[in-house]
C-alpha cells in the first residue's frame, strides 16, 4: 500500500455528482491499517463506485497532519465531503457501522 495515494474513479463523468472525499489516517503499515484500507476500498466500490476519492495519510511521515483532523486513534477515516465531516475509527471491519458513519445507509436499496 502506498503511504499516500489518491484514487479517483469516475464512472459517470457526465452526471454532475458530488465526489466523496475520504481520508484514511494510518501510522505505518500495520495489520489494522491494511485491514482498514481493504475494507474501505471494498465498501466504496460497492456503494460509491465512481464517485469517491480516498486519500491515505501516514502519520509516521506527516505527523503534523494529525492535529488538523483531530486524530488520536489509528486508523481513522474522515469523510471530508460531503459535509458535514464524519469520523470513523477502527479497522472498518464492522461494515454496518461504516455505512451508518458514512451516512450511506439510506441511499441503499
Amino acid at each position: 500500500m502506498a503511504t499516500m495515494k489518491k484514487e479517483r474513479t469516475h464512472s459517470r463523468v457526465d452526471e454532475p455528482q458530488e465526489i466523496w472525499q475520504l481520508r484514511l489516517y494510518v501510522a505505518g503499515q500495520t495489520p489494522k491499517s491494511m485491514a482498514a484500507f481493504t475494507n474501505l476500498k471494498d465498501i466504496c466500490e460497492n456503494h460509491l463506485k465512481g464517485k469517491y476519492e480516498i486519500e491515505v495519510i501516514d502519520l509516521l511521515e506527516n505527523p503534523k497532519l494529525a492535529k488538523g483532523d483531530q486524530i488520536f486513534a489509528i486508523p481513522t477515516l474522515v469523510r471530508k465531503l460531503p459535509q458535514p465531516i464524519r469520523k470513523m475509527i477502527g479497522d472498518l471491519s464492522n461494515k454496518e457501522k461504516v455505512l451508518v458513519g458514512l451516512n450511506l445507509y439510506p441511499l441503499e436499496k
Partner: protein, 571 residues
Amino acid sequence: MPRVEKKKTAAKLGKTPTGIHGLDEITGGGLPQGRPTLICGGAGSGKTMLAMTFLEYGARKCNEPGVFFSFEETEKELETNFASLGYNLTDLIEHKKIIVDFVFVEKSEIEETGEYDLEGLFIRLGTAIDEIGAKRVVLDTVEALFAGLSDTGILRAELRRLFRWLKARGVTTVITGERGDGTLTRQGMEEYVSDCVILLDHRIADDLATRRLRIIKYRGSSHGNNEYPFNVDETGISLLPLSSMGLTYEAGIERVSSGIQELDQMLSGKGYYRGSSILVTGMAGTGKSSVGAQFVNAGCSRGERCLYFATEESPSQIVRNMRSIGIDLERWIKKGLLEFVAARANMRSLEEHLLVLQRTADAFKPSLVVVDAITDFSTMGTGLAVKWMTTRMVDFFKSRGITTIFNSLVTGAYVEDSGVGVSSTMDVWMHLVNVPSDLERNRIMYIIKSRGMAHSNQVREFLITNEGVKLMEVYTGPSGALLGSARLAQGAAEKRAALDRKQEMEVNQKELFRKRSVLEAQIANLRAELEAREEEAKRIAGHETEREREIARDVKEMAVKRHMGGGRAAK
C-alpha cells in the same frame, strides 16, 4: 510535621520544581523527574491550574519547554483563562516554549468500526515534544477519552502504554483525573500512575470554600503527609505549609517606638522590641485602631514600610478617621510607605487571608504590620482554626523580623482575654478599657505583659486628642482614682487650693513683716528712753557731787565764822 528531607537512596530521585509556593517545599523539591504524576480532584478543585502552573513555570523559569494536551478546553480558551492569572501563554507559545494542543473527543461524531489504537495521540504528543524539546508534559484530562470512546479495554491498554512511553521518553508528566465515586479517579487512573498521586479537594464549610491538597503517595521520596490548604487567586496557586514555620526566629535587642511617647516610657523607656508581636485588646471604641495608626505613623515618619491589614474599615475610612485625631496617613500612602490590605473577614477563607497577607508582606517587605482585628476571623472557623491562623501569622511575621500589632476586640472590661486565645504567643499585651464614671466614659490602658523588659505597672488614662494618642497619669486622690472631667475638676480644685495657700502665705508674710517693723520701732523707742534715763542719771550724779562740795564749803565757812565770834574757836 512534614519531613521534607529526601531519603538517601543509591540514585537519588530527581525532582522537578513546580514553582508553586509551598508544594515544592512539602515534596522536597517538586514532582518526580521524568515520571508521571497524577493530580486528581473534583470539578473546580484546581487541577488544570496546578498543571498549567507546573508547565508555565518550567517554560519560563527552568528553561524546560512543555507540552499541554488539553481534552477539555481549546487553546484559545486556555490562553484567555490563564491570561487572567498573569500567564502569557501566547508569548510562550510564540517563542516555542509551550505547545498547547486541544484533543477533541466527541462521542456523537465518532463511530467505532473495529480495532484501533491511540497511536495518533502518541504521534501528536511525540511530534510536539520533539518540536520544542519538551521536558514537561500535561495531559488534562486524559479520562475524557473514556467519555468519547466505548471500548474501555482498548483504552486501558493504550493508557498503560502511554504512561510507559512517557516515562521512557524521560518527560515529567502531570496527568489530571476527575475524582470518582469512592475512588480517586473515575477510571482508576491511579492504577496506571503509581509514582506520585496528589489529591485536590474543594470543600465548603460554613458557606466558605477551602481548597486543600494532599500527597497520597510519592514513590521514592518522603513528603508532607498533612492536608495543606491552598489558594488560587490572581497571582496563581500558593500552598500553605502549616508547620514549615517554627520557633526558630532570631530575637534581636533593637527597640522600636510605639509612636506614643508615654507608652514608650512605660515600656522601659524605649518601646517594643523589633520583631515582636503586640496584642492590643479592648472593647469597642477603646482606641485600638488609634494605637495601630499611631504606630504606623511613627514608623512611616522614620521611613519604614508599614502594612495595614484591615478587616473592619476601608482604607479611606481609616485615613479619614485618623486624620481627625491628627494622624495623616494619606501622605505615607502617597509616598509608598504605607499599604493597606482591606477585606472583610468572610470574604476569603482563613487560609486565603493568611496567604494574601503573607504574599503581600513578601512583596511589600514592611517592617511594621498592623492587623485590625484578629477577632473578626473567629466568626469564620472553629476557635482552634483561628488560633492556629493567628499563631501562623505571628510565626510568619517574627521569622521576617516584622513588628506586628494585633488588635483584638474583646467583650467585658476587665476580662483579660485575648479574644481568640492567643495571648501566650504574644510578646506584649496591652489592654484598653472604657470606664464609666460620673455620667461619662473614660479610657484607660495598662500593660498586662511585656516580655523581656521592665515595664510600668501603672494604669494610665488614655486620651485621644487632636494630636494623637496621649497617656495621662491617672489621678489618685483620697476618694480613689479619678478620670476625665473628675480628674480635671480635682486638678482645678487642687490648683485653687494651692493658690489659696500661696495667698495666705503672702498675707502671713506681710503680717510678719509688719509685726517685725512694729517691734523694731518699739526696740528703738526703748533704746532712746534708756539713753535718756542714762543721761538723767549722769546729770543727777553730777549735781550730787556739786552739792556735797558746797556743803563741805559751807561747813568750813561756818566753822571759820564761829572762831571769829566766840572766842574759843577751834585751832
